[in-house]
Symmetry: C2
Subunit: 220 residues, 2 copies
DNA sequence: ATCTATTTTTAGGTTAATCTAAATTTTTTT
DNA sequence: AAAAAAATTTAGATTAACCTAAAAATAGAT
């Protein structure tokens, strides 16, 4: 049987909230993320459990089953491939694609996804640096770390963002911080933990702790 | 307010059934085309009328209003642009794209459509030869005619199909009849009205009346 | 012009996904 | 360990899009 748009969204969100460890996700957390009320979540959980997509015991929170995980990862694959398409082929900014991809991710056709993947050249990462699961559902999280964990004087490469909010991404655009750029931390301000950084060995600026906390980087 | 997937489909189908003249469409015809029952159609018509998208008087059939026409044409524009994308960019066959485009046509983003249109080079026709409305909603039907109306000895160019069924399109593929090919009618068989035709001045074959009736051609 | 057949609408239900309010269970605090 | 607080579930409605069966309106045939 087919999963609805709504069911796919629940599975995707459960996947996101349960993290790598597959922790139990609470009803309230789901209500928050789906912008619905807890009572509505309970209804949906019963339904997903009946379909064998989640492990669910009343009052105990939920985890995805193997089957549910598969569906969730496929939705994520589609979402990220469409984001690549929108940015690489249609010229959208990385701050503009989330909502559109949110719709496109539910178009049901394996044939379509595989052809899109090939058309895009089998990209490994989406425009925000998130890894794209392969056709078999293998999703390998790269071991990026948060900029706040880098040392003063260290040169790192910007590989992704934790916050996908358009306003945050636009802020990075204005600061000239793009995926793949080089960041060197020259100084940390003790007072507010803001950092002086040099981008691409070429211009210097201050970034707040809030920004640093949302930048994923890699040692070179 | 936003129109639902279902509402858009009704408008699209009313547009198709009412033809160029904007004839009244019957409830039963809509039930047939939407694969629902007449009672369900009546419910929807009342709703569309309330939204000002159709002219509807009980027992009198329906016509689109200006507003409804605009929505319908925009859906058609999106459908046909996505079909071009699927065939030209992803390499699908013209017999494979209808169902997928049927989903993609309801993705709501004007920005997306306009960028897609530009990416595709502002195509005027979709892979079946159907004209693509422009961004302002102008839809000019080219004056193609049906192959059955061509004379013996006449050379015409294949410009479109009336039937979009995969089986019909696959049949044309096997016969080597593609969009833009040259067709010369060499003979009409009196008995069953089948025709002998020469394709691209290069191979000859028989085509049934059924096929001829579904081929749109142009005098050269 | 009337009767019959067809078409369309109304009336009353169903299902998926939501809601509010109330009841229940779990967790936290004292 | 009891009371209070928080989280979760149940109960009972709502809305969109559908359904069946019955009633009403239109169209067709004599």
């Amino acid at each position: 049987m087919q999963n609805s748009f709504t069911e796919e969204n629940y599975l995707k969100i459960i996947h996101a909230l349960s993290g790598r460890e597959g922790l139990e996700v609470s009803t309230n957390a789901l209500a928050e993320s789906t912008s619905t009320r807890a009572a509505s979540v309970t209804d949906m959980l019963r339904k997903l459990a009946e379909k064998g997509l989640i492990h669910y015991k009343k009052y105990q929170g939920v985890r995805l089953t193997e089957a549910g995980e598969k569906v969730a990862i496929n939705v994520i694959r589609k979402h990220r491939l469409w984001e690549v398409f929108l940015v690489e082929k249609l010229g959208f900014g990385w701050d503009e694609v989330h909502d559109i991809a949110e719709e496109l991710e539910h178009i049901p056709s394996d044939h379509l996804v595989e052809r899109l993947d090939a058309f895009l050249g089998h990209p490994r990462f989406d425009p925000h640096g998130d890894p794209i699961p392969d056709a078999k559902g293998n999703l390998t999280e790269p071991d990026y770390f948060i900029l706040t964990e880098a040392q003063i004087g260290e040169k790192v490469r910007m590989m992704g963002v934790l916050d996908h909010a358009p306003s945050f991404l636009q802020h990075l655009d204005r600061a000239g911080i793009t995926l793949g750029c080089l960041i060197e931390i020259t100084e940390i301000n003790e007072y507010d933990k803001s950092a002086s950084v040099q981008i691409n060995e070429n211009h210097t600026l201050f970034i707040s702790l809030e920004v640093s906390k949302n930048l994923l980087v890699q040692r070179r």
